[in-house]
């Protein structure tokens, strides 16, 4: 019974992460995207890409504060969902907004700083998605961690991308920025202030059912 429950958690998490996509498809099919559906899809996919990036980045702080190491099992899924929504966002821009008008798209990427930053963040996430498999983690060893620090830059770029495109009401991008600052700030502070984090190999963590710590703690 217990085993089946634990087996069900991951598929359930996958379904929950797909809810925004389901909502978007439902609204699209029922004509509920408002007067400017293309803009609505662009904003929706962009917002969820940012939210999933922030969720991915919150795994390590939550894990270290709570000692709940099992969270690590969901980090890859969250990261790949972030990438998935980024890809949808980019495709919306290329296909729906500009309908493959590559001359204008390239010009946009070069000339418009908010597009440049957004596009750069998207490109930075590609190698991270590609190297997310277990085989790649093994193959890259220590370099895997170094490579995946790119996610910090991509997330900062994502928030700047949003901040630079709004006309006057900067409240939403500032909210994302504040959460990101908290998550990145934690990582800087945790190095110097011990009480911010429980050591990942603590007895408390080891005593948890299902805890199997073979891998070193990686602060990502």
């Amino acid at each position: 019974m217990r085993l089946t429950f634990r087996r069900a958690i991951k598929p359930a998490a996958f379904l929950i992460c797909s809810v925004p996509l389901g909502q978007l498809l439902y609204d699209g099919l029922t004509g509920n995207l408002g007067a400017n559906p293309i803009e609505a899809v662009t904003r929706f996919t962009g917002s969820w890409a940012l939210i999933f990036l922030l969720l991915t980045l919150s795994v390590t702080p939550l894990r270290r504060i709570s000692g709940w190491n099992g969270l690590i099992k969901y980090r890859r899924m969250l990261g790949l969902f972030a990438f998935f929504y980024v890809v949808l966002h980019f495709l919306t821009y290329v296909v729906l907004d500009h309908f493959f008008d590559f001359a204008r798209i390239v010009q946009d990427i070069i000339k418009r700083p908010y597009v440049t930053v957004g596009f750069t963040s998207f490109v930075l996430l590609i190698p991270l998605a590609v190297t997310s498999t277990a085989a790649m983690i093994r193959r890259l060893g220590k370099r895997w961690q170094q490579l995946h620090r790119l996610v910090y830059i991509a997330a900062i770029g994502g928030v700047i991308h949003f901040y630079w495109l709004v006309k006057a009401d900067i409240r939403r991008p500032l909210q994302y920025g504040a959460v990101l600052a908290l998550l990145l700030g934690y990582r800087l502070l945790a190095k110097w202030i011990p009480f911010l984090s429980l050591p990942l190999s603590s007895k408390a963590a080891a005593a948890r059912p299902g805890y199997k710590s073979a891998r070193p703690a990686n602060l990502q």
Partner: protein, 313 residues
């Protein structure tokens, strides 16, 4: 057997007449209100808009396909009612368009405060089907109802010092909840050069789609200047002031390098952050090319002859 005797005292003697009359009145109004409430439940739109009568046609109208009433009234910018484009329709209930006065003042011989219902009768109403191009690169085609602004200007008799006209929106955070956040400086202000204000394309609009202007579109009175970006067409006006010097305008105060005083639609002068070469007409999939002066070049290009439009954006 009990035989019931009629009461010696008439009920009208117990209850004072004033009271039972007011009781009857209450029952009448209450049932009317209940019926009224029921009928609004049945009708599509709770604030069933008032039809405007006697609307003339205009040669300035375009024959392009109109955007639907729903698009026009549920997707627009009106930061006083919220910064999302769906917000104005949701918060429209706060903006009650009566009582309302518009003060005409400044460099004029006949300064006057108009009650809104007098103002709307100043000139015959016309339908003006105009393209509206937002600075955010989307556009619509909207059948406004109103009359040329010059009709009001002439009545005010501007003095020789009147070189510009400044417009001011209502300042009242209760009726305009968006004014509780300092997104822009409140009240919203806009301005036109005198010749722009006198141009026959510039109208005071009091309706759209043949009906009284919905609150989210700037009730009870706004201007529409179709060759300029939408934010120049200031809504819910309470003050029209004639001045000698070029007046400030809200978006220019907010970001002077992005939004100028003129803000004429111009596909060759980009917004510093995005292109103005194309636009999405609401309801269409493909972007279309933005036209110089939003397609009104033939009528208005003369106003700007010799001006460097990159400098005076």
């Amino acid at each position: 057997m009990l035989i019931k005797r009629p009461s010696d005292i008439k009920s009208s003697e117990i209850t004072p007449k004033a009271l039972y009359l007011s009781r009857r009145r209450f029952i009448l109004t209450a049932s009317a209100a209940a019926l009224g409430g029921f009928s609004t439940l049945l009708s599509d739109d709770a604030s069933a808009a008032e039809k405007l009568g006697n609307i003339g046609k205009s040669p300035f109208s375009t024959n392009e396909k109109l955007n639907s009433f729903k698009d026009v009234t549920t997707y627009n910018n009106f930061y006083e009612l919220g910064t999302d484009k769906g917000d104005p329709a949701v918060n429209a209930k706060y903006l009650t368009p009566r009582p309302w006065t518009v003060s005409v003042e400044g460099e004029v011989k006949k300064a006057r405060t108009y009650d809104i219902d007098a103002l709307t009768k100043l000139a015959p109403l016309e339908e003006r089907i105009y393209r509206l191009r937002c600075v955010e690169a989307w556009s619509m085609v909207i059948p406004w109802v109103g009359f040329p602004l010059h009709a009001l200007v002439k009545l005010a008799e501007p003095t020789g010092n009147a070189k510009f006209v400044q417009f001011v929106t209502l300042l009242d955070p209760k009726r305009m909840p968006g004014q509780k956040s300092p997104v822009l400086q409140w009240p919203y202000i806009e301005g036109l050069r005198m010749d722009e204000a006198m141009h026959p394309l510039t109208i005071l609009a009091i309706g759209l789609y043949g009906e009284v202007l919905p609150s989210q579109n700037g009730a009870p009175i706004r201007i529409v200047v179709p060759w300029k970006y939408g934010f120049k067409s200031i809504k819910s006006i309470v003050k029209i002031r004639f001045v000698e010097k070029q007046p400030a305008n809200s978006w220019n105060l907010m970001q002077p390098q992005e939004y100028g005083f003129y803000s004429n639609v111009n596909p060759e002068v980009d917004h510093p952050r995005w292109s103005q070469a194309t636009e999405r007409r609401i309801g269409e999939f493909f972007r279309r090319k933005t036209l110089m002066f939003n397609g009104y070049a033939e009528q208005v290009a003369d106003l700007y002859r010799g001006m460097d439009l990159k400098k005076y954006y």
